[in-house]
Symmetry: C2
Subunit: 260 residues, 2 copies
């Protein structure tokens, strides 16, 4: 299964964002990808202030409908970050739709990072559910979520084989993309795809480095820090099975010894 | 606080091992270190078969007494890997003694790796207790243990600032030393010191790369793959505090959402 990550600067106008997603989805599908992931809050931008986030959340139904149209038009699944109606503040959300425009999963970021996230959003109440796409069992996480080994472990223990992560990761935290995301893949023998912004947004200097890490932790594909691109990676169930035969972490755990 | 890691080929004769530990401890103390870590099963070797391990465990009292003498002679704490009496098979153990020869901690490896470990040892029943040395709160793990994020997380949640890890890590698993150990340090904002063998032992080609990773995950010191050396790293409580002010993972956890 080929997957695509759309590394882009933020687009604050949602119509522009949708046009760019449409263009990237067309490019991804032409390259053989059956799912494309966007960065966090791809529909409207991330570092935009609480009022703008609240406005975007009110438009969520229309934005999701537009995403479903794009997915259907190009016959490609989409995992896109956007503001979703919450309690008081909106959720920092990600929605997965299949190539027929059907909703597969809706997730609310559970670990809010720093003052910007907390001012703009309400934390989600549950980790991602899992869904199936082209024979792969998939879970979602958003940005800071993936820095917690507990999140990817929980998804892997439920059977996730692939974890898709929209993010908005800024300098100087490149080690998330180069160290922690590869570690999450290796320690769970799962594929982790981490789709970041490039460019600038307010004080934030996004560090790109979007990546797809295989179940041995090694890069299957990686973007540069500053390129806008549609990154393609080809996933193999046979390679996953080979890796899981050797990587024994999931079955050698001793949960009775661990702190909650 | 300066710490030392003794990267060495395995020594199958315990008298030779003790002489080499004595020599390395003297060198470490001269370099200003107040604690020295050895590889896993430093007293007699790791890939040595169940009978040899059982024999070594029966000598544990004498070997521990010898370690205490070395620690006292050089006024340096030691964390050494050795076989300890178990139930049926021995434990794959690590003992910490201070520079006055007093026992600080005794730990039994809880995660046994593969056929060699399981044939030779019984798994421990609890994670390491913590102990204090020169103002640092310290826990132990052995080799495969540290590959499980749950182990270092459990120790960090109890207050560990430094985790000392005797290991016997072989090719091709260099990513443990270069990716997972740095990730354990960064995701918990702790120092992790990973002391490996170099050289060969039976089928095993040890990959060295002993390291001390700071609380931001970056190397404070690292040995090469094939050198025998006494690696020194200088730890700073001020640097730990600075890092912990920025690295927010420990306080941003949401344990109510995680699988056990």
């Amino acid at each position: 299964m080929k997957i695509a990550l759309w590394q882009t600067p933020p687009h604050h106008d949602v119509q522009t964002a949708l046009e760019q997603i449409d263009s990237a989805a067309k490019q991804a599908r032409a390259a053989g990808a059956v799912v494309m992931v966007t960065p966090e809050m791809a529909l409207g931008g991330y570092n935009i202030g609480p009022e703008k986030c609240a406005e975007l959340a009110q438009q969520a139904d229309g934005l999701i409908a537009a995403l479903k149209q794009i997915a259907t038009a190009h016959d490609i699944a989409l995992v896109a970050g956007l503001a979703l109606p919450g309690e008081g503040r909106p959720f920092n959300g990600a929605i997965a739709v299949d190539g027929h425009g059907r909703e597969l999963c809706c997730y609310h970021k559970t670990h809010l990072y720093g003052d910007v996230d907390r001012a703009q959003f309400t934390a989600g109440k549950a980790l991602s559910g899992l869904f199936d796409l082209h024979g792969w069992r998939i879970g979602l996480a958003i940005c800071y979520d993936v820095e917690f080994p507990e999140v990817t472990r929980s998804l892997a223990l439920q059977g996730a084989e692939l974890i898709l992560v929209p993010t908005a990761n800024m300098a100087p935290f490149t080690s998330v993309a180069t160290r922690l995301v590869p570690a999450r893949a290796e320690e769970n023998a799962v594929v982790v795809a981490y789709c970041n912004y490039t460019g600038h947004e307010g004080d934030f200097d996004y560090c790109g480095l979007s990546c797809v890490c295989g179940p041995d932790g090694n890069d299957l594909a990686r973007s540069k820090a500053s390129d806008s691109d549609v990154l393609i990676a080809d996933l193999s169930h046979a390679a996953l099975a080979d890796c899981r035969a050797v990587m024994t972490h999931l079955r050698d755990r001793r949960p009775e010894l661990y702190r909650p």
